[in-house]
Amino acid sequence: MITSRTEVIVGRVLLIVALVLTLIPLLNMLSAALQPADRNPIGLSWPSDPQWVNFVTAFEVGNVWRLMGSSAFIVLCVVPVSLVIATLAGYALGGLRMRGSRALLIVFVLGLTIPFEALIIPLYYQAQALGTLNTQWAVVFPLIGLFMPFSVFWMRAHFVNVPRELSEAARVDGARLWQEFFRIQLPLALPAISALTILLFIWTWNQFLLPVVLIANPLDRTVAGALTFFQGQYYASIPLLNAGALIIIVPAILVFLLFQRQFIKALLQGAVKG
């Protein structure tokens, strides 16, 4: 790659500024989490006597094990199902482009513009009617549906960019559709799928509005809802709140790091040349 010197220097400086700005609030969370639990932390300063025990307290007070289990259950229901059905639909709309696909695309794209808040009230009464209210299913089903517009749109955007010669060549070779799909399309779609996996995982893990409204018992919600454990009407501890928040984001970071190696390798390969 050919790049000029000034470009490299300006680039690096901007990047470092962006990285520092990104990290400050996170460091501030950590420094706050280590202050004595009954104190109101001030500014960004490393505590003289770091209270690592806050993490233990937050873990116990927040029933974090149970919440992580509950979150994991919701994620394991939502993400794989969404990935499979969105990939199939994305391939149909972007790769096969059968009759009616454009109308279908419009229908899905319109869904992209529906804010969760616009649906939350009807979703509540729907869950009540289905008898799923106050169970994890009340969040699982709507989330799969609500993720469809983006997921289908995202996968279609990938399949639309796959050179058509590839699939046509496969068909001329006499490959059946599913063979073509598994041997040619799916491997090519992996970067798009892994990116989507990460996004769906994070969006589910961090879902706040749906669990808060649809599941009455906070222990059956996602971990993001656990933050409300520390926010009583007349009782809250900002150090514990931050300790809890940090505990909660660790699994998400781990999953991201785990997927990321594949993810980046795949996306750097770029498009296959016809």
């Binding site: 790049t3 001030i42 500014g43 808040e117 046509e168 984001i249």
Partner: protein, 307 residues
């Protein structure tokens, strides 16, 4: 939809049969996604529209009120103010993150694969991994009188402008907006990187051999190559701006006064605290139409690009 032209009739018939089979397969492949979507988006949307014509407390008997709820949405200054605030947030949720994302993605692209690149990417993406609710909490005392923002301003000699940012009528909304910028910049960067990765590197080599600088390269190659991704991101971030809830819920609750009140928070309050389900549903529908009005032109652009 045209398939390769062939000359003789039997092969044309076979091709047509294959096309019909492909049509059927296509619909079968879409069916599960369509089912989930219809059941949990379209159906609730229809019931939401239904509720919006009623005065209903969510439990008792509902009374038909026609368009009264919509009239309230468009005449109540508090509700209109909330809509106005959400449009201001677009600047912070869309323009800043997408702009920053383009710059950063371009910069990271020119970095060699290695620890530094991977670390940068990971760090930039971190805010997206944090629950928005936690981001709201973390930032609300970053912005406090004794918080880190004022502390840092003090270090660089800007004591004069320190203030409780979220409690100041002039700065509360931009301050909340910047939380959104912080969260979304990483997402934009990583998704745009995926897009840049798909652009043929020989194009870059060619234009560089042509003697073009980074700016021309950016305008003539990177930007057009990213049209799809940009459309996705602008759509996503505009929706995030107009439907902000978690951040406001955990930072300002709409205050001070109604300076940061947004439709999402009002819908939650009207629907669940005030138990005025009809009005909340109507507000939700209006919100959706507004999002549609902003996002539809963007979709049109991206559709034009892949014809």
């Amino acid at each position: 939809m045209s398939t390769t032209l062939v000359s003789n009739a039997p092969r044309r018939a076979a091709a047509r049969a294959a096309a019909r089979r492909a049509d059927l397969t296509g619909w079968l492949l879409v069916a599960p996604a369509l089912l989930a979507y219809t059941g949990f988006v379209i159906y609730p949307l229809a019931t939401g529209i239904q509720y919006s014509f009623y005065d209903w407390n969510g439990v008792g008997v509902a009374t038909w009120v026609g368009l009264d709820n919509y009239a309230t949405v468009f005449t109540n200054p508090n509700l209109l103010g909330a809509i106005g605030n959400s449009f201001v947030l677009i600047a912070f949720f869309t323009i800043i993150p997408v702009g920053m994302g383009l710059v950063l993605a371009t910069l990271i692209r020119s970095m060699r694969d290695g620890l530094a690149l991977r670390a940068s990417q990971t760090i930039l993406f971190l805010p997206q991994i944090i629950p928005l609710a936690a981001a709201g909490i973390a930032w609300s005392w970053m912005y406090a009188q004794t918080g880190a923002v004022n502390q840092i301003l003090g270090w660089i000699g800007l004591e004069a402008i320190t203030r409780p940012w979220l409690a100041d009528y002039g700065t509360a909304l931009p301050a909340v907006g910047l939380i959104g910028s912080w969260v979304l910049t990483g997402l934009c960067t990583v998704l745009l990187l995926t897009g840049i990765g798909k652009i043929d590197t020989s194009l870059y080599e060619a234009i560089r051999l042509d003697g073009a600088g980074w700016f021309r390269e950016f305008i003539t190659i990177t930007l057009p190559g990213l049209r799809q991704e940009l459309a996705v991101l602008v759509t996503l971030t505009v929706i995030a701006a107009l439907s902000t809830f978690d951040i406001i819920y955990t930072s300002t609750q709409g205050g001070p006064g109604r300076a940061t009140l947004v439709p999402g928070l009002l819908i939650y309050r009207i629907g669940f605290t005030q138990s005025d389900v009809g009005l909340a549903a109507a507000f939700g529908i209006v919100m959706m139409v507004l999002v549609l009005a902003v996002v539809l032109p963007i979709q049109r652009l991206s559709r034009a690009s892949d014809q």
